[in-house]
Symmetry: C2
Subunit: 190 residues, 2 copies
């Protein structure tokens, strides 16, 4: 698929059919992730491919707990009605974890390690574009407590789970979301 | 350009010719950025396109200061020799700033706002892929203090500069960097 088509037509998908993802497609998505840029080419990412129903249920339960806490702290009433059953219906979820020791020099600086998170985010964007090109829907999900998700996924202590990428064939056409054009977002220092 | 070609052939470019970037190309790169996913579609990014030599010099000076501090804190001797003159030779630098108030519910949670940074990183990946498809080299640069760069760019207090994307025609073929294959980075919970 043409790059610009993939960039402009990708949509967040929150409704999946139960058709499993072909191994070959899953591997193309994972391969694309590894080609993202990273600080010092440290490739700080790791991927956990989850298809186990029980683990998906545990993730869903943690997301519900986190959502409830979010409603209380934000005061966003609508959040309480945000449906998250795609966490159980998605045939595969790829958890993307990052290693803060594989960040740039920022890990020694005041702000602390951030570049490794950015690299993982770039890897996720590669994954979502590639999924779309393969006819697979995806959504980038972060409503969880990192420590609790680490426990659920039994991650080593140097791996911080940053996002869950839910993947599957779309059960319905995802709604397009509008964008503010770049002109509204850009200033020039010439 | 085909999506997978762009993903696999993009390289970090640190040597630019002085050929300016066509306005039309610059706008395609900025447009691509706006199609990244973001929490609640909040589109937390803003872009500052820098072509002014004096501002580029100020950025370079801040990068030098930050590099020196980095050498001292990390003990990485090689970092002191890391050349950063591409900050002055790149015909355009796009600073990408994010608004932490335009994050998801995470802005109310313990970890603090992170999702807006991830969205900006996804936007940057779109930019770098698009630049490559247009024959333009790019490098993602973060060796600066965020507050100091804010001052240099005279940013409003709700805009946090997250990265500088240096852009221009490559003066030499960038060196490919190897990747660990996904198999080394992936575990399965089936």
């Amino acid at each position: 698929m043409d790059l610009m088509t993939a960039i402009k037509e990708r949509r967040s998908c929150r409704s999946f059919s139960d058709e499993p993802i072909e191994k070959e497609h899953l591997e193309k998505i994972l391969d694309a992730a590894t080609w993202a840029p990273s600080p010092l080419n440290a490739q700080p990412w790791s991927f956990i491919v989850i298809s186990n129903s029980e683990v998906k249920k545990n993730i869903f339960t943690e997301a519900e707990r986190s959502r409830e806490q979010g409603v209380q702290k934000s005061g966003w009433g609508w959040l309480g009605k945000y449906r998250m059953d795609f966490l159980m219906s998605a045939p595969a979820i790829i958890a993307v974890a990052g290693n803060p020791k594989k960040s740039g020099v920022d890990q020694f600086m005041e702000e602390g390690a951030r570049a490794y998170e950015h690299a993982c985010a770039a890897a996720i964007q590669n994954m979502m574009l590639t999924a779309h090109a393969l006819g697979i829907g995806s959504v980038w999900f972060t409503l969880f407590d990192r420590e609790k998700l680490s426990e659920i996924l039994d991650l080593a202590s140097d791996k911080i789970p940053l996002a869950l990428v839910c993947l599957g064939k779309a059960a319905a056409d995802p709604t397009p979301t509008p964008r503010k054009g770049f002109a509204n977002k850009t200033t020039y220092i010439a």
